[in-house]
Symmetry: C2
DNA sequence: CGACGCTTTGACCCGTTTCAACAATGGTGG
DNA sequence: CCACCATTGTTGAAACGGGTCAAAGCGTCG
């Protein structure tokens, strides 16, 4: 029924920005391979480094993530015209490239958060957030060993995890009792990084840190 | 303590990409205003169209969203070096601009999903997803009135919402009983769009549709 | 027809929420 | 320097949303 495989994409782009005739033509003439994907077939797997972008032409497609315990959390549903893995975007000055990557990382973090609130139980959910904040802080040099400033309230932590304050409190106290963290007066120390990561089912890949920063 | 306000940013960027001396210099010499933000003060409000980007220099900052019922859901915690609203990125060819925007919309959708799984109860959560899919499909012309193909199973719907299949089923049947939708054999019809939006606490703004598409 | 995948239903259970009260902390003005 | 007040953290008891397990309908397609 669709005239061109790229028709939905053009239609979507024109709906969010005005395209000149040249630009529309540029899109329509992009080098293109049409691939048939079976139902339930994975297009890109976690860890792949695809060299091409992809556009959904027909049908539905979704991104998802599996936790070690097997629960699956879908991130997003994609319909024709969507570009679920908009990776390659050349022709940019290298500075813009870095900023661009940052945005992609940001989006990756969003996805991880969806998994966090959607699929992890309270204890792991909170632990996961601790792991993330710790690593993000370390990248910018704001940690001393396993200690860092954590100027947030338990109520805010609750909002960040989609839990109630009361339950956050109980979970945090549990984490203390289990010797995972210390946290008093806005200063937090991770006492058992391995244990924290384990309980959080934390995999730092999504933060896209350099090899140096990821080591721990 | 920090040498330059932009130091954390440079540090972060160098950790995710290699910057040439010129590029680093380009960042360091960006026109810059340092602003002091009080605790709990909003920097950018929903609906604002900021003309500047912002970089966190010191302290913590978070993005959040309030549902009509008052529950607050935080999207992300930002630390120094972060650019929570990387809006302005000039000097791109206009095509790249459109793609760029698309990515931003994508990220906006992620945030909405975080809110969805973190803060909405089951019924509203599912209803919200129906609203989103419907509008996304309509933008690319894949709806007929309020009818569209919805080739997904309730189990997949469960994964997308962080609920169990059983509970999704009960909620969907409730939605049918309430006259909000019909859904059989992969074809879905929204029978009461206003009611669906209301129950979902759905605000289409985050999809960034054109004025035409947003009307409904 | 039989098998398989999806939907529907029931019963029971448990994580989390809610409400409520109280303790600890820290900041403010007199 | 203390009295006061507003946050924040902690705890208990009761209620509930949603999960789990299990089995039964129901289409559909080879």
């Amino acid at each position: 029924v669709t005239v061109s495989p790229l028709h939905p994409l053009v239609q979507k782009l024109t709906s969010i920005a005005t395209l000149s005739n040249e630009e529309e033509e540029a899109i329509r003439t992009l080098p293109l391979t049409v691939k048939e994907i079976r139902a339930d077939q994975d297009v890109v797997r976690d860890g792949d480094r695809p060299t091409q972008s992809c556009v959904v032409v027909e049908g539905f497609l979704c991104r998802y993530k599996q936790l070690p315990d097997g629960t699956r959390q879908i991130h997003s549903v994609h319909v024709p015209g969507d570009m679920p893995d908009l990776q390659s975007l050349h022709e940019q000055p290298r500075l813009a490239d870095a900023l661009w990557r940052d945005t992609l990382v940001d989006a990756a973090i969003f996805r991880e958060w969806i998994v966090n609130v959607g699929a992890r139980e309270a204890y792991a959910r909170i632990a996961h957030l601790f792991c993330e904040i710790f690593l993000k802080l370390r990248v910018v040099g704001l940690t001393e060993g396993y200690t860092f400033q954590l100027p947030i309230t338990q109520a805010e932590l609750a909002d960040a995890t989609g839990l109630s304050t009361v339950h956050v409190n109980r979970s945090v106290m549990q984490m203390r009792a289990n010797g995972l963290i210390r946290w008093e007066k806005g200063q937090c120390t991770i006492e058992n990084w391995q244990g924290l990561k384990r309980d959080a089912m934390f995999d730092p890949t999504y933060l896209h840190l350099g090899a140096s920063a990821a080591a721990a």
